[in-house]
Symmetry: D2
Subunit: 343 residues, 4 copies
């Protein structure tokens, strides 16, 4: 049984890790930390876990974490980059769900996060944990940086087109929409039900922190610099990301449906829908799954790809567990067979 | 492996049976019927099941159903009562999720459903499938009538009080609220998002079909006739029932928290919350679980019980699977270990 | 043109006052205060008001407020009771939307709010601003305490029954549900969309601060002490209160429909629905209106009254404007002819 | 007082016309028709109108309609084109909210609506009722075709850019999202709360009926053929459209904020937000207003315009009333001063 530690378990990615790992056949959470909730039972904070989790939140403690086979960071950015070096030195393997190790270039990271990076020396080693792109590197990694939620959906949607060189990589457009849980469990006025429900808006249009991650990842896939106009929107619901992607085809004769199906046929968590079927966020709610539809409206030269994920699962904690399975040689789907909760 | 048949699989209780049974370690759905969708792949209608269900809907066919170890009816009322006799005669065991066999008195059934009962001879044999009350009878039953969603929450909430004789059974009040999925997947104007979201209302106040079921069940528990004022309300959400129950205590000194905890301590799917904690529908979303809180406001003589379930799980398909497990000698919790999807 | 001042205009009752008063034919807001947002344009915070409000938030300033014909307090409790004495001394007339002057007994107020009352000497003078009960007193008042949102719906629902002495006042039950805007615009985790949407729960069951107000108001109406079991619930929507009220009839022959219609026939903002029709929160959304339905389920001895309001309008700012109209001799409906926004 | 007739008043654009016209200072609804609800009081179907509308639905009757100064069609497509010729011949003036007269080319209409046009001879005369483009033609028209909801938002968003020739008109992208009320009040499974809430999806990607209307309108504005990739999405809310528009700038030095402000400075119902502020659907809920934000992310060469409307107001009934005001020489804002219902 794999022993798991979780740093920062009070947020939504933390509780989602607990939900998934509670039923994982080969893993058990041994340690979960939170300074703010130290001493409180986990199932007091999250009563859905009553009967499934007998832990209390405890203070971060390197020794206890290092005794685990794997340590997840489910923290806001700026926590992992300060603590991970010590853990790695002590022999831990780490999966960071935050943004701290996603960008290879410390200067770019600093420009977007407004502070110096605390452990830039680890950036070259950190593996970007998108299994559909880097499965083998993940398997051997000490430190995996889990992709952001938007970047997961955008990269999986553009990937087959860029790999095949079928679109103009200099003019990609991603119009994405996310449920409010993506903003975390912080008490902010903007995320109150009275502010965010019954409405829809774009935000971060001038520049969102996921933009450099998206461009880095798509650039790696394309083998050249790409240019993405990325507009995130806030959906009046809790879970779900829908990315609507636009690109100009340089070959309008290609069979895109076949291309997508072939690329993902062996991927357990990417599901290309039949031609003419478009994805909905509700069909992946609670599931570690990306569903994708592709269309060329009116047979013109613009391709539209639609990719949906649950931002807390394939966009965060589910993908983290998938990475853990790969790192530890477990079946990649272990503990990840939840079916989307529909209706 | 238990072979399962489902009659009427296109509705919400049908797809929920499929979601639960797809991951059941000891059961497999062999047959699923629908006249309207005959020949259509199940996962075309419900894309959350892609990869988990390789069936097509087929016409109802007694031979195919009888070959199953258990047959679920996930149909509107008035279907099972016409087909069940033939299935039982052919040796099938049946779990009916509809209202057809819930009331013992055919005349009462007719009064509330506006037509004669088609197989009144089976009413004495049908076992009311509330495991917390009739586990042993269920184990040996040929025909189990699954409780309605409201009645499940109301009965589990009042049960300890009535068994202990602590409240005035002649003046019970149940103010319940249900998500819209309880109304099924029929195309009705009243259940459109534009009609039912962003609003709250009572309905069926003068008399709802679940009233006689509630009074029959509570009467059995109390050992005497009871009188319930039952007011259902429509919640602007998909899944969840919250019943707020009021009764007048005839003994204000009783330790109700201890009473509830003792009554349900061995029940795997009823969870009494700690004193002072009240349930929320979200903590049982997708889970086969009833969470209960109890309070005596201001220390007066009125007790308030709050009971929540997911109407599609403990209120329908989960409870049906629980009954199947009991009938077939499987572990009662098999296939039912989903954790509430929170947030 | 009546000159209006508003203290504490950044919350939801503040912006709702602005929405209503912007189109009021006889009133204009001259001053709006907020320490936190001092110097910020109102329509920057609330872009729905662009073109309708040319004000900036300014620091509270007694002189500017006293120059107004009427001053609204749209503040949390504990603000008005400190500032109102000075304003009254300087000649102002005040309508307080907070809880500070709703209870006549300072000791009761202190027990529920956990601190001494700062100006208990004004409690005898403050008029409880429920126009359907105290219209004449309101007209002459210097200080009006606007009723709470729950208490408005509960009192208007029970009022005809208690005035007529038709029910047992010792065992009243109010099962109420409110939209999240009732909790205000404070940044609290519990009111995040990710916490409060897609769920339903009771809260404050052991004792909610609106209970003493409800019992005081109903006691005045009944002419004797009353006993109310009050259970509030949180609805996953922004605006709307639905109170489902239960009482035991001591005369089952009374024509309750006629009673309610007669009582409210001359009330411009209370609408008794036809027999058999039950109210919905959506039909009063944005409107200064209470819609009421009454039923005696199964012809037994329990009466069920359902009363809906928009908590921000008839439950707060609309009722405040109604009180202003009465105090200043304006037509009572001036500025309050919004129609419920349906669908 | 202008006498108004409404054909097909039971749908959402019908009730919205009634809500707006009930408070219009210069107009009164005299006739409202519905075959299905003939004889039923309007406020029985729509209780928000109790006290504001004393009409019953009646059978369509040419004489009664012709006696009105203006006749609105709030019907599905395929109704107006059969009845309007007779009304015009009898001297009526008509505002059609349906799609029947929006396209100038009968063959294009037939291709998208799958049937011949019943009165193609009127297409050249029908004026496209987007006041910001055709105010003068509208003033003199006998027959105005109100724009669709999506097309209103897309055209108002692209208009300044196309008029100024600043973008590549051959590669426009519109990623739009609409509330469910845009689908009307028909009983369809896809629009049930249990299907459409708590989810987000694209639809009509291969070709939506609003595409030819958008391309016709933008082509008129640009003075040349345009090419639009239009992807509509379904939002889990009732009211609101948000269009996120993308275009490639051919002049990255232009001051787009100033351009938009200048273009709309005299338009009463188009509000350009300050630089850096993006619109939200909630700030125009219930209001006849289009709010627009413009941004050039990262200072590259792609411009992003965000335009929001309430699909039932500026996207339908409010714009229809605006057209009526223009046609009849009333103040253009009469009856249209509702403020967005926020929160």
């Amino acid at each position: 049984m794999v022993r798991v530690g979780i740093v920062g378990g009070t947020g939504y990615t933390g509780v989602e890790l607990l939900r998934l790992l509670a039923l994982h056949p080969d893993a058990a959470v041994e340690v979960i930390t939170s300074r703010a909730e130290q001493g409180r039972r986990v199932d007091d904070l999250y009563p859905n876990l009553r009967g499934y989790c007998d832990l209390e939140f405890r203070e971060p403690d390197v020794a206890a974490l290092v005794a685990c086979d794997i340590v997840f960071f489910a923290t806001p950015h700026n926590v992992a980059m300060n603590l991970v070096p010590e853990l790695l030195d002590a022999g831990a393997r780490v999966i960071d769900l935050s943004a701290d190790y996603r960008l290879r270039d410390a200067a770019v990271w600093s420009a977007w996060y407004g502070e110096p990076h605390a452990s830039p020396g680890l950036l070259p080693e950190a593996v970007y944990g998108l299994p559909e792109v880097r499965r083998e590197e993940i398997a051997g990694a000490r430190l995996v940086a889990c992709p952001g939620c938007y970047p997961t959906s955008v990269q999986l949607g553009f990937l087959p087109l860029l790999e095949a060189g079928l679109v103009d990589a200099g003019g990609l457009i991603a119009s994405s929409a996310s449920g409010v849980s993506g903003a975390g469990r912080q008490a902010k006025v903007a995320n109150l039900l009275s502010e965010a429900s019954d409405s829809f808006k774009a935000y971060g249009v001038a520049g969102h922190r996921h933009l450099p991650e998206i461009e880095q990842g798509l650039g790696d896939i394309a083998g050249a610099a790409v240019n993405v106009t990325f507009v995130p929107h806030l959906l009046p619901l809790i879970r779900g990301i829908h990315s609507t992607l636009f690109a100009t085809l340089n070959d309008t004769a290609a069979d895109l449906q076949a291309l997508f199906e072939a690329r993902y046929t062996r991927e357990p968590f990417v599901d290309v829908l039949p031609a003419g079927v478009y994805p909905q966020t509700r069909t992946v709610k609670g599931a570690n799954r990306c569903q994708i539809g592709v269309s060329v409206p009116q047979g013109r030269d613009t391709v539209v790809v639609m990719a949906v994920i649950d931002n807390l699962v394939k966009g965060a904690s589910g993908q983290a567990v998938q990475n853990m399975n790969i790192m530890l040689g477990l079946p990649e789907t272990a503990g990840l067979e939840q079916i989307g909760l529909l209706p």
